[in-house]
C-alpha cells in the first residue's frame, strides 16, 4: 500500500517532466560544472555555487512544468505590468553597479527586473495575440511591437545591451510566429537599418566601442579588443582535439577574461577543441529540435507562440554567445546558455524549459 502511494506520488511528481528534453539539459549542466571547475582554476566553491544555481533552477523548472496552461495565460498580464513598473523603478531608483543601473532594491531582495522581462515579454505578446487570434490585423502587430519595444528601450538605457538583444529577439520570434508577413518583416528590417543612426546615438560609448571592435579588434589590442583577441586565440589554439581538460593555457594563465561567465565557451573550446564544439552544438541542436517539436505539437495558438519563442530565444543565447567568443559578433553580455556560471540566467532558462514541458505534458492530459 505504502509502496503504491509512494509510486503514485512519484508518478505525480514527474508526470509533467519531459524526460528527453531533461536529459539533454542535464548533459549541458554537467558540462557546465566540468568547465567551471577548470575555468575557475579548480575552485570548488565556484562549482558548488553553480550546483546550487542548477538545483534552484530545477525547482523553478518543476514548478513551471506543473503550472497549467490557463494559469500561464492568467499571469501573463500581471507579470508584464509588474515587470514594467519595476523597470521604470530601476530607471529612477535603481542601484548602480559597474556603471549600469540594473538592480532594484525591494527591501528584502535585490532583483534584476530585466531578467523577469525575458519571460514576461514573450508571455505578454503571446497572450495578446491569443486574445486577438480571430481578427489579427496590422494594428495588432503594431501594438505587440510597442509592448516589446517599451521594455527593450528601458533595458537598453540601463544599459544592458545583451539582455535587450535577447528580449528583442524573443519578442521578434513571437511576432514572426504569430504570422507577421514577410513583407512587413523586411519592411521592419529596412526601418531598423534606417533607425540605426538613432539607435547608435542611444548606445553608450562602451557599447559603440564593442561594436566597432568587432570589425577590427587589433586596433586596440591591449584595450577594448583584448577580450576578443584572447578569446579567438583560445579557440583557435584548441585545434581539433583541444589541449585537454585543465590544460588550456589561455584560461589557466589568466589571459581570458570572464572565464566562468560570458567567455566560458573559450575555455571549453580551448580544452576540448573542434570535437568538443561539435558535441556542444549537437546538444544545443537537440534541445532546439525538441523545442520545435513541442512547438509543432502545441495545442493552442498561445502555447505555440510561447514554445516557439522560448526555443528560438534559447537558440539566440547560444548563437550570440558562441558568435561573440569566436569573434564574429560584438561582445555583448550574453551567457552561454546552461553552461555559463550564474543563477539568474539559469533560472530564467529553466523556467522557459519548464513552460515548454508544461505545454507538452498538459496538452497530453487535455487529449487523454
Amino acid at each position: 500500500m505504502l509502496q503504491e502511494i509512494k509510486h503514485r506520488l512519484w508518478q505525480r511528481m514527474i508526470v509533467h517532466i519531459e524526460p528527453v528534453l531533461l536529459s539533454a539539459l542535464a548533459l549541458l549542466m554537467c558540462i557546465s560544472l566540468l568547465v567551471i571547475y577548470s575555468a575557475s582554476g579548480g575552485n570548488w566553491d565556484r562549482v558548488f555555487g553553480q550546483g546550487v544555481n542548477i538545483l534552484v533552477a530545477l525547482v523553478a523548472l518543476w514548478v513551471a512544468a506543473n503550472l497549467p496552461l490557463h494559469y500561464l495565460m492568467r499571469i501573463a498580464v500581471p507579470i508584464y505590468i509588474g515587470g514594467m513598473l519595476m523597470l521604470i523603478g530601476v530607471a529612477f531608483f535603481g542601484e548602480i553597479n559597474n556603471g549600469a543601473r540594473r538592480w532594484l532594491n525591494l527591501g528584502i531582495v535585490t532583483i534584476q527586473p530585466s531578467e523577469i522581462m525575458k519571460i514576461a515579454v514573450p508571455l505578454m505578446m503571446a497572450w495578446y495575440f491569443e486574445k486577438h487570434e480571430a481578427t489579427l490585423k496590422l494594428r495588432n502587430y503594431l501594438v505587440a511591437t510597442v509592448l516589446l519595444l517599451m521594455p527593450v528601450l528601458l533595458i537598453l538605457r540601463q544599459p544592458d545591451l545583451g539582455t535587450a538583444i535577447l528580449i528583442a529577439a524573443s519578442g521578434f520570434f513571437v511576432l514572426f510566429l504569430a504570422g507577421l508577413s514577410w513583407r512587413i518583416i523586411i519592411a521592419l528590417g529596412v526601418a531598423a537599418l534606417a533607425s540605426a543612426p538613432v539607435l547608435w546615438s542611444m548606445l553608450h560609448n562602451y557599447q559603440r566601442q564593442r561594436i566597432l571592435m568587432l570589425f577590427d579588434p587589433e586596433q586596440d589590442a591591449l584595450g577594448k579588443g583584448y577580450h576578443t583577441i584572447q578569446a579567438t586565440i583560445a579557440v583557435g589554439s584548441g585545434g581539433i582535439l583541444g589541449k585537454g581538460y585543465l590544460n588550456g593555457t589561455q584560461s589557466h594563465l589568466d589571459f581570458l577574461p570572464e572565464r566562468t561567465t560570458d567567455f566560458i565557451f573559450a575555455v571549453y573550446s580551448e580544452e576540448f577543441g573542434l570535437l568538443g564544439n561539435l558535441i556542444l552544438l549537437g546538444l544545443y541542436l537537440f534541445v532546439i529540435a525538441r523545442g520545435f517539436m513541442i512547438t509543432a505539437n502545441a495545442s493552442t495558438y498561445f502555447t505555440r507562440l510561447m514554445a516557439g519563442s522560448i526555443t528560438l530565444t534559447f537558440f539566440t543565447y547560444a548563437f550570440v554567445n558562441m558568435g561573440m567568443v569566436s569573434g564574429i559578433l560584438p561582445v555583448v553580455g550574453v551567457p552561454l546558455p546552461l553552461v555559463s556560471y550564474g543563477g539568474t540566467s539559469m533560472v530564467t532558462l529553466l523556467l522557459g524549459f519548464g513552460m515548454l514541458m508544461s505545454i507538452e505534458t498538459h496538452k497530453k492530459l487535455v487529449q487523454t
Partner: protein
C-alpha cells in the same frame, strides 16, 4: 519551418568559423597562445672584475637597489617624480640626470631616477608601490671604481647603452647578448675589453600569466659571468706618481721595456668615472667639460706635444747609425747654428754656446747647436725613416681606443699636408724636437722603452691576463648548465707582436745610454733629480715650447703667463744594465724638464726600484746654468 532553417544556417556559420579558427588557422593561433604563455627573460651576467698586477681591485660590482621609471607607462612623469620625492630623496641633480637619460633612452626601457636606495627608502616605497604605476624597485649589480680619479684615464667607465651603442651592437650581431643589459663599456679598458668583461647573457624561458607574472620556469640557460682582467699596471706606482705631480697637470707613462707592460698610466687631472655610470648630471658635466684643466682629456693617450730635447738621444743614435757622427766627432759651439750662406741664426738655449761638444757632451748638456747641424746633414727623410722605427708618428697599438698618432714630419708629408716643398730650414728645428714634431707621452714612453731595450720594441699594453670566473659563482640551475666553457686558467693576453729589432750597433747604444746616465749626474741637465740615486738611472730632459720666441728675444719664464710656459719633459729608464722600467713624465707648463719633470720621475723610480715612499728630494745646484735644459 523558417525557424529550423534559421537555426541550421546560423549554426553552420558558427561551425564554419570553428573550422576556420581551429583547423585552418590553428597553427597561427597556437603560436600566438605560446607567445602569450612563454616569456624570454634574459639573465644579465655579472661583469668581470678588473684588478691591478698585484690584485688590487680597480673595478668591481656591488648589489644595490634602484628606483626605476618606465616612461612609456607613465602619462605625467613630472607629477610622478614630485609624488615620489615625498617618499624617497630625489635631488635636483637626480632630476636633471633623469631628463638627460630620458632624452637618450630607447623605447620601453625603465630608467633609474634614484640609485643606491637605503633600506629605509626601499621599505617606504614598497608600502606605497600600488600608487605608482610604472615605477619599480630593482635589485641590480652596480659598477664601482674604488680608486676614482686615480684610474679614470685607463679603466674608463661603463655607461647606459644608448641608440648609438645599440646600432653598433646590432651591426656586430651582439644585440641578443645584450638583452637585459643596461650598460656597456664607453671608454678605456671597459670599452676595449667589453667583449671579455661582459660575459654571456643567460636565457630563462618562463611561463607567464596575463599580468606578466612568472608562473614557473620552463627552461633556463645560465649566464656566464664576464671574465676578469689582471692589468699590467701597479696602482700604487700610479698613486705615487699622482702624488708626485702635486698640483701640476700632465702625464706619465711607465713601461716595462722587456715586454711592453704598462706599469703606470697617468693623465692629470683625472675625473671620477663613477659619475658617468648612470649618466652624469648636468652640473658635474659642466664642471668637467668647462674646466680649464680639461680633466676629460686623456693627455697620455691623446695629448700631442713637441718632444723637445728628449728627441736628442734618438737623433744621436740616428747620427751614429747612419754614419754622420761618431763618438769623437767634435763641433765648436758658438751658441747658434746657421745654414751656409744664410744669416738666420738657430740659437742654442745657452747664449754663448757650450764650447767644444762631442756626441756624449751633446746629450749631457743638451747642446742644441750640435743637433741643428746633425739634422741638417741627415736630411728630413733620413730622420723620418730612422725615427719611425721607434714608433714616432704612428699609433703604438695600446689596448685602448682613441689613441692618436702624433706627427713625424717628412718631405712627402709636407707636400701632402701643406702643398709645399720641404725647405732645408724646416729640418733644423726638427733636430731638437721642435718644428713640426709632435708626440704623445705614450709614444715617447714606448720609444724610450725600445731604446732601453736595445732597439727591441714591444707593443705597450695594459692587460696582463684574462681571469675566467668559475661558473659556480654565477647563479645556475644544475641540470641546464651549458657546456663547460673552455676557459684555460689565466689566459694571457696574446703576447703583443714585437716589431723586428731595430738595426743598431751595440756600441752606439752603449754610448747614448752612457750619455743619458751622465745627464743625471753632476754636470748633467738632470743632476738635481739624479743626486744620490743608489741605482743607475738614465734620463733626458726636454722642453716643449708653447709659444714662439721671436728672433733675438730671450725667453723669460717669469714674464710669461703660467698657461703659456713651456711644457717640461723627462724620459728615463732604470736600472741601466737591465732596464725594468722606462718612463716619460710630461708636466704641462712646468717650465724646464730639469726642475719639474725630472724630480717627479725620480720619485716614481725610487718607489719602483726601492719601494721608497716619496719625500721631498734634496735640491742641489744644477749643471752650469740652473735654467739649463
Amino acid at each position: 519551418m523558417f525557424g529550423v532553417g534559421l537555426v541550421l544556417v546560423m549554426f553552420s556559420l558558427l561551425l564554419i568559423r570553428f573550422v576556420y579558427l581551429q583547423i585552418i588557422k590553428h597553427s597561427h593561433y597556437e603560436t600566438l597562445a605560446e607567445n602569450n604563455r612563454i616569456s624570454i627573460v634574459p639573465i644579465v651576467p655579472s661583469r668581470g672584475v678588473i684588478v691591478d698586477r698585484n690584485g688590487e681591485i680597480l673595478a668591481r660590482n656591488y648589489s644595490g637597489y634602484t628606483l626605476e621609471i618606465t616612461p612609456s607607462k607613465v602619462p605625467d612623469i613630472e607629477a610622478l617624480i614630485s609624488e615620489l620625492s615625498l617618499l624617497v630623496d630625489i635631488t635636483a641633480k637626480d632630476r636633471k640626470r633623469f631628463k638627460k637619460l630620458l632624452a637618450e633612452s630607447r623605447n620601453f626601457e625603465s630608467l633609474p631616477i634614484r640609485n643606491r636606495l637605503s633600506d629605509e627608502e626601499v621599505a617606504r616605497f614598497a608600502a606605497q608601490r600600488y600608487r605608482f604605476k610604472g615605477v619599480d624597485i630593482k635589485a641590480r649589480l652596480f659598477r664601482e671604481y674604488p680608486h676614482r680619479e686615480l684610474t679614470s684615464h685607463f679603466i674608463g667607465y661603463i655607461g647606459r647603452i644608448n641608440e648609438q651603442d645599440m646600432s653598433l651592437l646590432e651591426a656586430n650581431e651582439d644585440a641578443t647578448n645584450y638583452l637585459g643589459s643596461d650598460y656597456i663599456g664607453k671608454i678605456g679598458i671597459e670599452q676595449s675589453y667589453e667583449k671579455i668583461l661582459h660575459g654571456t647573457t643567460g636565457i630563462q624561458r618562463v611561463e607567464v600569466d596575463s599580468a606578466g607574472r612568472e608562473v614557473r620556469t620552463i627552461s633556463s640557460t645560465a649566464p656566464v659571468s664576464g671574465n676578469g682582467l689582471t692589468l699590467t699596471l701597479d696602482v700604487k706606482l700610479q698613486a705615487v706618481t699622482e702624488q708626485a705631480f702635486g698640483n701640476y697637470r700632465g702625464a706619465m707613462v711607465a713601461i716595462d721595456p722587456s715586454n711592453g707592460e704598462i706599469l703606470a698610466f697617468v693623465s692629470k687631472p683625472g675625473y671620477d668615472p663613477n659619475l658617468f655610470i648612470d649618466g652624469i648630471d648636468e652640473q658635474s658635466w659642466d664642471e668637467l667639460s668647462n674646466s680649464p684643466d680639461v680633466p676629460l682629456n686623456n693627455r697620455a693617450l691623446r695629448g700631442q706635444y713637441p718632444p723637445g730635447s728628449t728627441i736628442k738621444p734618438f737623433m744621436a743614435l740616428a747620427g751614429l747609425t747612419l754614419g754622420k757622427r761618431n763618438a769623437s766627432y767634435t763641433i765648436k759651439d758658438p751658441g747658434y747654428f746657421s745654414l751656409p750662406n744664410t744669416s738666420h741664426r738657430y740659437r742654442d738655449w745657452k747664449l754663448d754656446g757650450h764650447g767644444s761638444v762631442d756626441l756624449f757632451k751633446s746629450v749631457v748638456v743638451s747642446c742644441d747647436t750640435y743637433y741643428y747641424g746633425l739634422a741638417n746633414e741627415l736630411g728630413i727623410d733620413n730622420i723620418y725613416n730612422f725615427m719611425s722605427q721607434f714608433g714616432f708618428g704612428k699609433k703604438t697599438g695600446i689596448d685602448l681606443e682613441g689613441e692618436v698618432s702624433g706627427l713625424l714630419p717628412s718631405s712627402e708629408w709636407k707636400q701632402r699636408r701643406h702643398k709645399q716643398i720641404w725647405y732645408p730650414g724646416d729640418t733644423i728645428s726638427v733636430g731638437i724636437g721642435q718644428g713640426y714634431n709632435l708626440v704623445t707621452p705614450l709614444q715617447l714612453a714606448a720609444a724610450t722603452a725600445t731604446l732601453a731595450n736595445n732597439g727591441i720594441a714591444h707593443r705597450p699594453h695594459l692587460v696582463k691576463k684574462i681571469q675566467p670566473v668559475p661558473n659556480a659563482l654565477s647563479n645556475t640551475l644544475p641540470n641546464t648548465l651549458p657546456e663547460a666553457q673552455p676557459a684555460p686558467e689565466n689566459t694571457p693576453i696574446s703576447p703583443p707582436a714585437s716589431s723586428p729589432k731595430i738595426n743598431l750597433d751595440t756600441e752606439h747604444i752603449a754610448l747614448v745610454k752612457r750619455a743619458m746616465v751622465a745627464v743625471t749626474k753632476p754636470g748633467g741637465t738632470a743632476a738635481g733629480a739624479g743626486w744620490g740615486v743608489p741605482y743607475v738611472m738614465a734620463g733626458k730632459t726636454g722642453t716643449a715650447q708653447v709659444i714662439n720666441i721671436k728672433q733675438g728675444e730671450k725667453y723669460d719664464e717669469k714674464k710669461i703667463d703660467e698657461r703659456h710656459r713651456d711644457h717640461a719633459w723627462f724620459i728615463a729608464f732604470a736600472p741601466v744594465e737591465q732596464p725594468k722600467i722606462a718612463l716619460v713624465v710630461l708636466v704641462e707648463n712646468g717650465g724646464h724638464g730639469s726642475s719639474t719633470a725630472a724630480p717627479i720621475a725620480r720619485k716614481v723610480l725610487d718607489y719602483f726600484m726601492l719601494g721608497k715612499i716619496p719625500k721631498p728630494l734634496p735640491i742641489i745646484k744644477e749643471a752650469e746654468n740652473a735654467t739649463g735644459d
